[in-house]
Symmetry: C2
Subunit: 275 residues, 2 copies
Amino acid sequence: MNRVERHASFGGRQEVWKHQSTTLGCEMKFGVYLPPAAVEGQRCPVLYYLAGLTCNEQTFITKAGAQEHAARHGFILVAPDTSPRGPGVPNEDTYDLGEGAGFYLNATQAPWAQHYRMADYVAQELPTLIEQNFPATDARGIFGHSMGGHGALVTALRNPGRYRSVSAFAPVVAPSQVPWGQKAFTAYLGADVSAWKEWDAVELVATAQERLPILVDQGETDEFLRKQLRPELLEEACNAAGHPLTLRRHAGYDHSYYFIASFMADHFAHHARGL
Amino acid sequence: MNRVERHASFGGRQEVWKHQSTTLGCEMKFGVYLPPAAVEGQRCPVLYYLAGLTCNEQTFITKAGAQEHAARHGFILVAPDTSPRGPGVPNEDTYDLGEGAGFYLNATQAPWAQHYRMADYVAQELPTLIEQNFPATDARGIFGHSMGGHGALVTALRNPGRYRSVSAFAPVVAPSQVPWGQKAFTAYLGADVSAWKEWDAVELVATAQERLPILVDQGETDEFLRKQLRPELLEEACNAAGHPLTLRRHAGYDHSYYFIASFMADHFAHHARGL
């Protein structure tokens, strides 16, 4: 594991590391913010952030304004890339499949199955790496945006006991029912839609073993709201299952990091209740 | 003048506009953040931010985390590009001369003199545009980073009475004495160094008519500190002239926007005392 960036930030340190991922079979980068408490050697809880389509490990650390909150709360912040990448990793010349579009699942179909195992990477390999190499406790929270909001919800719901808090900005809540998810799931998981259910938050919430409270923020002028995101489907599923959900709709806000940054403080407050 | 972006942000709006600049003879873009008070129609003071080499109007608005502070203080934030750009604008295939490297002066030498008039653009054309088209008062502050820190200091010092507050992150304080400045000034102003003095903060502070207090933050592990920035030259000049300067040196901080974001709240507090 090699450090490729280090910057002082709000009394702590924003770093970027690269490592050879055994799960993904390629070199991966991730951002890690160490709050002042961690720099002083104290063990801190870890909040994982999963980014959306087209993003990489740089997006969140440069645009979301999260470090000031992590510094204040004493959270380590970890931001992985959105897919495997590089020589030998299958790709498509499109923004919503292949590199930058891993959808945080374990693919079962050729040619994707060998490398596209972001679910195992995010929930297993990466936390092990973080907890062995940084002053981290095993208290974990997870959040994300859009495709990464889907990733955060699904990762928490599939791994009861592993996360203490979960939230999402403008998540894809029902990939099986929307174009982005249908395209990706058909490629990664195959045409049999019964295999899609275990990667769909709206399906998973119905049978969740653990009722971790979910916070979702959604902009009402988000260009993807009606076709790709459809938070009302999560609202219905949570109501039906008795799963605690706080869904906030914000007039005038779009899908950008300007929206994410505006509500970042509230997401940290939500995670602070769990961590 | 046409709006090319609009995003809700911290209860206000981050916008990007383009317009044909008569001063620069090309189309220019600028970012403008309208705090909630301005969106509600109240007239607000305006804080201008000048970015550094290689940057454009996007850099500050996406990376600096300034909107939350502007929202709280009720300041309009304006972030222009760093040079004229586009067809017909002279350029060089290098990062420190031509496009992205306007140095916020009025060039006198061919081929630069026709378009490279960023001093007049920033101090005259842009404020007129802002004050005519947005709910702005004529209370102005100015700050910037690196080449833009030089721009902020020089613009305030050359225009007594026009700005109520000034600050800089890691500024080039004495362009006449450092490689970046010497290269740019030779090209834009010619080889006669006597013409350089009116664009050099260390020279200008000696004879300033107005003693506007200056705040400068500087990272101690900034890779450009010793060769290009040299804040000790500003410290000596301010001491000699009796010009109020607060120069803060921060251990571990570099030249990046992680540094800028970390001290943004303090710069807003400084400008709030003047605005």
